[in-house]
Symmetry: C2
Subunit: 148 residues, 2 copies
DNA sequence: TGTTAAATTTGGGGTATATGCAAATTATTT
DNA sequence: AAATAATTTGCATATACCCCAAATTTAACA
């Protein structure tokens, strides 16, 4: 259990986490509070043992507080990181929705590639769209936009 | 050496190849004709042995004609697939360039995530932009747009 | 409270992607 | 033909996923 985190929001590139870890973080953010292994594994449709391993990884880098047999919860750093991830998803979804894709399509596409879009790109896209408060899949916060 | 290909352009989703294999195919397309292992490995900054392995993989699925110690060349199917890959890159680059990113940034971002954007999304984006003939990184062909 | 049932973790194993090094091989050049 | 350059093969590593079976822990309940 770490009380520090290898990521300080100021130096986030947005490219630190693998696609699956991004999914886990967004899920923990959506659920809020302590989330049980089974809950996660059934949401993500993976074996519980896979969840245990991934959550342990996230805990080892300080994004998650994990108590074995109890559950997992975002740390403060994890929550901030997850906020960025959700914003990124929503901004990209909003952007793509301007090109004739349906809502489901848009979300599906973005879910596939979002992990590879940098924070600085997101900042610029967000700025260029006038800092919209509602994205394709939910509200957008602007606490993490560099370019305001 | 296969004269058939597991991909028929009509059923292409755009998600068949890993990011690195996409790079190889786009490179072979740009270079044209028979390309030597060293040429590829120096362009992509990987060890020649890595290139040999990847090219062999591409040959095994019928996208590349490969003669050991001689070089690699796209098959007809490979050329068509690579055309799609280049178009996808150019369309996505053009799209992103509308959001305040510089040319280099745009190309860099797209290169990171393009492998995860489906052909059907590209078709729609392309259609929505009015089938532009020039993208962010080069010309765009429309032979592969479903929605014309 | 002890026993069972459910949830969870551990350990092992597997696939896919991607990489490099060293040694062996093939091609080219002289 | 011998030397050199290019290339391949075999081996090894690393990351990111994944699942299964066995062991463990927690929770329930009788």
């Amino acid at each position: 259990m770490l009380d520090y985190c290898m990521f300080s929001m100021k130096e986030i590139t947005g490219l630190e986490l693998s696609p699956k870890k991004v999914e886990y973080l967004k899920l923990l953010f959506r659920k809020g509070g302590v989330v049980r292994t089974t809950d996660i594994s059934s949401s993500l449709k993976v074996d519980p043992s896979t969840t245990t391993k991934t959550i342990s990884d996230l805990a080892s880098i300080g994004l998650v507080d994990y108590t074995p047999y109890r559950g997992a919860e975002l740390t403060e750093a994890g929550r901030k990181y997850a906020e960025f991830l959700v914003n990124r998803h929503n901004i990209l979804t909003l952007m793509l929705s301007h090109y004739g894709l349906s809502s489901e399509e848009t979300c599906e596409e973005v879910s596939r590639f979002e992990s590879f879009v940098s924070r600085s790109a997101i900042d610029k896209i967000c700025c260029s769209m006038g800092h919209p408060s509602v994205g394709g899949c939910g509200r957008i916060d602007h606490a993490f936009c560099d370019v305001s």
